[in-house]
């Protein structure tokens, strides 16, 4: 399981380019920072009001005034800036964030995303996710391919949307899928799985890239 997460985080890290402004969702996406090449400098934004967020604060050294959007105490890198929530979401909605990496409950072949509510069961609120996926230039969903054996990648989402037609790419432990006008295109795969196994684990037809590579 943790292996799967490491594979995903490692692969997503390759999508981030030097100088990119990036917002990482809580959970798995946060792990991406552990796999960045040394020569790639990323500017991390957290929607609660910081540009240039640094690593988590060391225990005992927390500054209670400096938090990330997941309520964890963090640090500020040199060149950081703080701002209010309207400015923060102005940056997000205004297409000044290059990449956002988020988890999901479901994604479908149209790039529709469901990630914030299971009616009657889990209603935590959308937080900043709806703005992030609408505003970021590139939306990457980083998640395990299935949930307890159930499909999460579907023809059509069955849960309420976070947003429609926003996902650019899905990275799972099985492969990398790009959302295209013709549906989902598998561009990379994990050779631990056969293409049949990957299709089996997916609730939508996967087109296979003529250029298919391994993801590791």
């Amino acid at each position: 399981m943790s292996d799967a997460k490491a594979i995903i985080a490692q692969r997503v890290a390759k999508e981030l380019k030097d100088g990119n402004v990036v917002n990482l969702g809580i959970g798995l996406p946060t792990m991406v920072v552990n796999y960045l090449p040394e020569d790639v400098e990323i500017i991390f934004q957290s929607e609660n009001g910081i540009m240039g967020m640094g690593p988590a604060a060391e225990e005992g050294c927390e500054d209670l005034d400096i938090m990330n959007a997941g309520a964890g105490y963090v640090t500020a890198n040199p060149g950081a800036m703080y701002f209010d929530s309207a400015t923060s979401f102005g940056i997000i909605r205004g297409r000044h964030v290059d990449v956002t990496v988020l988890g999901a409950l479901q994604v479908d072949r149209h790039g529709n995303l469901a990630s914030w509510i299971i009616p009657g069961k889990m209603v935590p609120g959308m937080g900043g996710s709806m703005d992030l996926v609408v505003g970021a230039k590139k939306v990457i969903i980083a998640m395990q391919h299935t949930q307890k054996g159930n499909h999460k990648i579907l023809d059509e989402c069955t849960l309420p949307y976070t947003a429609v037609k926003v996902v650019d790419e899905i990275v799972t432990e099985m492969g990398v899928m790009v959302v295209t006008p013709e549906g989902l295109l598998l561009t990379e795969y994990n050779p631990e799985y056969t293409l049949e196994q990957i299709q089996e684990a997916t609730g939508a037809k996967l087109n296979i890239s003529p250029d298919l590579k391994t993801m590791l």
Partner: protein, 222 residues
């Protein structure tokens, strides 16, 4: 000019049952706990609270929730305070919480619209989702936008780091979040601040919130 400095209990004495109160902070980072504590002591009920989130159990607006003071919560995320789900689903009518969820960027911009006299905002966020239900959709230059209305309040609880006696306020780190926006969107603004200084001590280039918005200043915030 009039003295704006009061104790927390004096500051909240003007708040009555049924008031709408904006509370600054993001997961209690930037929430004025001394004002929340005073409001718990005053024990006014049926409040509408507008806040990014529901705080945490025993912290921030979570205290008002536990004390049964909130009738309606308008927020963007309530998942880190399990008491919200309990109170939304309770059979006990008088404990029942209404919770209205708003995308965080829309929440911020709706509050700013109230503060800045705009008629509403046009945002792409929420288009095609249940957030859009019942709302006007405008097509502008080929794209769709939701019309979201300004969000006003009777009171705002703001948390400052340094405040001068006129009310000019500076926020440190990520405590800023919704505080400067709410300061302009409420009829009556109370600042709970860590440090009170004389007028003229703050560099006018670094002030985040003008004292013209501030009615009352309470020192002693941690």
């Amino acid at each position: 000019m009039k003295n704006k400095i009061k104790t927390a209990d004096e500051a909240v004495s003007v708040i009555q049952d049924g008031a709408t109160i904006m509370v600054g902070g993001f997961m209690v980072c930037g929430t004025p706990e001394i004002l929340i504590d005073a409001l718990v002591r005053k024990n006014v009920k049926n409040l509408t609270i507008i806040c990014n989130d529901a705080g945490l159990p025993g912290k921030g607006v979570g205290k008002l929730l536990s004390n049964g003071q909130i009738k309606t919560l308008i927020a963007s995320h309530v998942g880190l305070n399990p008491e919200v789900a309990q109170r939304m689903n309770t059979e006990v009518e008088e404990d029942k919480l209404e919770c209205i969820l708003i995308p965080q960027g829309t929440l911020a911009e709706r509050i700013r619209a109230a503060s800045t006299g705009l008629g509403g905002i046009l945002t792409p966020t929420g288009v095609g989702t249940i957030v859009a239900e019942g709302k006007q959709l405008l097509e502008i230059e080929g794209n769709e936008y939701l019309l979201e209305l300004p969000l006003h309040a009777d009171f705002a609880f703001i948390r400052g780091t340094v405040t001068d006696k006129f009310g000019n306020t500076i926020y440190n780190g990520t405590t800023q979040n919704f505080n400067p926006l709410m300061a302009g969107a409420a009829e009556h603004v109370i600042v709970g601040t860590c440090k009170v200084v004389e007028v003229g001590e703050l560099d006018p280039n670094t002030i985040h919130t003008s004292g013209i918005f501030v009615d009352t200043i309470v020192g002693g915030e941690q």
